[in-house]
Symmetry: D2
Subunit: 363 residues, 4 copies
């Protein structure tokens, strides 16, 4: 175990490097009987796929998934689901110029120091291309959560650099390559990205997530909190530097009389807690917000050192997303779906026999 598996009962194991032959993964613990085909996964991979607009990396990958096991006659069998996504557009030579240098803000340096060896081609294992595996695993989780519990997991880009993007509608999210929830702002975002790309620089972003329909009771006390697992899952996504649940950092300035969500027989009157109390879901929307840092591979020259420790400068050409946050929405959704599914299974393992002790708000 060295960090390539994730989840307790819905467990995802991932492998692959940016310029190796393939990425792939194993999903273990999926309940049997779920209708599943490659298209169920492909549709989510396509949302994350590079080359979908001029604002993201121009690497050409179809990201075609092949299911290798765990599905028989169109249904999951309950055994391990292996899947493979071949790399198609490797250009290892793109990286010869930087193979001996470390990009500021990149994992180049830490992998080199930790392992004494690194695959310098496109970041190797550290590449954000690894997120194809997460999206594939998340696609299965999303389908199961929807069918079994009516849970939907969705996200949107809530800030691109300094531009805040207020939520207007889920329709808007699907109608532009930014996952921006407000069509009126898309022109501004495009202009911003064009100028950014032109300048050779990169920018950060914020992505918000909402899981609707989560029943009350998912999550475990103390260390196994639903929100703790969500926080870990989010922070494991490349470039993420911050995670909030519900009111998040705004909680600092709130009074208890403002923050604590009052209850009525019809349900909660607010959702500062983001659908989680004491680490256990309340039945409200689970709301999450994450901060993504700007891409570290930029064209602007920067001071760094080389693999012998000597001072040098670096300019990264290659094909990189000027804002990794743009494609982060389906990735973050996938991670949230995996955590929720894991806790759905964990909850029913222990509490399958609990009967509702009274009449309560839905959830």
């Amino acid at each position: 175990m060295s960090g390539n598996s994730f989840g307790t009962l819905y467990c995802v194991t991932s492998f692959g490097e940016s310029h190796g032959p393939a990425y792939g993964g194993v999903v273990d613990g999926c309940p049997p009987g779920l209708a599943l085909c490659a298209d169920d996964i492909q549709v989510e991979l396509n949302r994350r796929k590079p080359g979908s607009s001029r604002h993201v990396t121009q690497r050409r990958e179809t990201d075609t998934v092949e299911i290798l096991s765990g599905v028989y006659e169109g249904r999951t069998t309950g055994t391990a689901i292996g899947f493979l996504i071949r790399n198609e557009d490797q250009r290892s030579k793109d990286y010869s110029a930087i193979a001996e240098k470390f990009r500021p803000g990149h994992a180049d340096y830490t992998y080199w120091r930790k392992y004494g060896i690194r695959d310098a081609r496109g970041g190797g294992r550290a590449s954000a291309r690894e997120t194809v595996v997460r999206v594939a695993a998340g696609a299965i989780a999303k389908k199961w959560l929807k069918q079994r519990y009516g849970v939907s997991v969705r996200g949107f880009l809530s800030a691109l650099g300094a531009i805040a993007i207020p939520f207007k509608s889920w329709q808007d999210v699907d109608a532009n390559p930014f996952f921006a929830p407000n069509a009126a702002l898309v022109g501004q975002l495009e202009k911003f990205m064009d100028e950014l790309r032109e300048s050779g620089d990169s920018c950060g972003a914020r992505v918000n997530l909402v899981a609707q329909g989560v029943p009350v009771g998912w999550g475990e006390p103390v260390y196994g909190r639903l929100d703790a697992d969500i926080a870990g899952a989010m922070m494991s996504i490349n470039a993420v530097k911050g995670v909030e649940i519900g009111a998040g950092f705004q909680s600092i300035g709130q009074k208890g009389s403002e923050h604590g969500d009052e209850m009525t027989p019809q349900g909660f009157l607010s959702n500062n807690n983001g659908g989680v109390l004491g680490g256990i879901s309340t039945g409200q929307d689970v709301t999450v917000s994450i901060a993504l840092k700007p891409t570290s591979s930029i064209r602007l020259p920067r001071r760094t050192i080389d693999t012998r420790g000597a001072a040098t400068t670096i300019e990264t050409s290659g094909r990189h997303d000027p804002c990794v946050g743009i494609r982060a929405t389906p990735i973050a959704e996938a991670m949230l779906a995996c955590v929720l599914m894991d806790h759905a299974l964990r909850h029913r393992a222990q509490c399958a026999d609990v009967t509702a002790p009274g009449k309560f708000p839905a959830g």
Copy 2:
């Protein structure tokens, strides 16, 4: 496994309820030969102890720890370290008034719905009093990290409600009951707390953490990132709603040319990444910031429902911290120390034979 254990190789298991006979824990995986006595743990428990000032709960607990195993003739043996902290000041009847109601913003409701049963006395398992176990486990981790790797893990209160507390010195942190890093502000903080307590309300807080001396290379790729484990650990602390590493949410508005920490043969020129790149420590300070929500148990009346689902109101008297953030500093330090120790062990398991491939900045 239902959420009461934490860590892969340095593993902490916790039990106990606020008004049960005792809290306790088991630390498994501590290397043998570490000099350890109850005082090493007690000193950290005392930092977290209730009743240390008028600004925190007046529950009287000595929080005296008894080591039950794993230490022989003053040294750890490498076997499980069991320890016990008896509760001394239970007042279960304090809770009879609210036993049939749910406090807004409290885990009362979710425990009840998840398990169909709950120990209503002082929050039962959901009580923040559980953090004694974390602090005890963290004390051992702190000692080992210091002795073996020269790592120090410290924290401070960086905001109390809306009052930001700029860092002045570590000496200041130790000199006041708020862990405030700026003695000049203590008068303002006390006044704020006195008014808050008077009003029957509560407030949030921010705590910052710094781990110094962490060598380069701790942390694992993909899902086992050091920062992912830190985020999960922090979000598992009662009342935490947000976690940042390094520049955190400020990364959103940064350009890549600003965020990416440049390197020279003497070291990094900035630390936006908070000492972690690609999930692996860089050798810089590991910096973390967390948001704590206001206490949910307040005297002000609030709308809620009872255990039959009927509408009612609730006013919580009892003995509660009006700001759980005030005592959160040693707790958050403990969690960070546990994560770091876990990764120190994980790193040397896999990479014990890696020899430095060149001459690099310290770390």
Copy 3:
């Protein structure tokens, strides 16, 4: 994690040493709502207790268990169940004579070499006294399995040294201090033990286990097989050197036409597989047999080395079971119960929605 926890969803963590202040444990994952009190555990501890006859160690321990958490108003709450068993009859000085020597066949040597330090008093952590924790955890598992699924887990002594003890009845098992299933042989066993004790030597034993009422479907494929987990659990018991499921080693000499258990609409016609096929329970009795080696602490002189590596001899007086197998029955039952409960929870996590695809034999 250094070997002191056990189980995936029904997870037991153990601590304590033979001559330290106490043993204790934490059971995590128990479903809420189970009626539980100290007596439920005590009754099983009493079956394992030392001093129950002249044939076992004369150490005087009441093995009184105190439940510290996880139970409220007589029912489990779903949170961690902590419990404590104080040592009462430590006699550390008994061990001064052997503190600098290694007993042949004992863990003395390996602990010393692994950790560079050891608690020499009574074997320290290696003492079979640790099994109190297993028995306590198993008592809870037994109760839940019985109430929820009607599963019973029982065992008996099937051989004492070279004396085979054919099964006659469960009544006989309960009627003698050997857990021998055949009252007619008890006189012979007593005579054998008296002579053995007289001679200063020790002997091995075999214990058989039967779990009745296990439903079909518990266990997971490939590495998570029910029988694999049983084998690991059994071999983790002090002194166990062999484990068989069903026909066990007799399978070697069987033909497929003899071994493979035929089926009819009324059920299986034999049980060579011991209730497990492909790692998954069949609905038949789960049958297990284990071999226990003779106690390593004997009065007869033996060649060994001391802690400086020099040749010496050793004679162990102290208070030891001349046959650890005699008290092993409740211990092995406990481990089997824990594994079954773990798999019961794991099974319903993944397969809660599977509906019987046809009409099949019970189980």
Copy 4:
């Protein structure tokens, strides 16, 4: 997590079905810098490969392995090693005759009942063909153990049905398709197998394993014992019904004065404990013996039920090993190697700083 992963720090995840497109696996936790190529794995796969003699299944599989990640320029990088073995000789229609029936002694029935669905083609996930993944993972472990610690892991067939095969030499083992350690008996074994095949029946077998060069100190106390993990790993192999360490079941009839291995400054004088005391390696050979049941797929007619629960009979043609034990030697070696490597890493995580406390026998 549903049973398809194995190991704590050297962690193997497996997927694939007998008649699906491919088997594959992910090895996580391998130290960086190990020279590794497909041939290192292929040589072990070839030892296990079907069709190597007339005595095993005639399915034609080259079992060609493709490494997909984790290796760069011929060395492991420390990241996840993904690998793939395509199935080439699927004949799903072979199974149409038995798709609606359950083979006595086969996992057919339990998978069907557990999951409510099964891939009937060749046993699906229950097929012993899954062991290609184990052998591949074991090949990496063997290479690392040899290079880093000088450990060798070898096995041999010690009984074929009722025929015991006394050990003569390791040269003999490599010189016949049975892995029999005694060339003089090969003629007898061939005659036995020819008659068995002719009869349409199958037989059991025993395989012995020896790990040489294991240093003292590997293994953890209590539940994480080296022998407990070995027992679990062995029992997880298809058809295994019994596991012994050292003297195993013979320990029952031994006296303590006979069983306990005496020590001298030159080392142990015997090895009844099989190289493990208290769950920790002694530095002696680790010796293991396993019992494999006869193949359940036989041509002889047997009583069974069908998927509607009705009585019927079954005769299994297809291509099956009449004795799965013949090809089990490399599989069992692989599992032992994986367990040893896992414990090597676990040991150095916790005990890297332990210095030898004196002068002791090698190991």
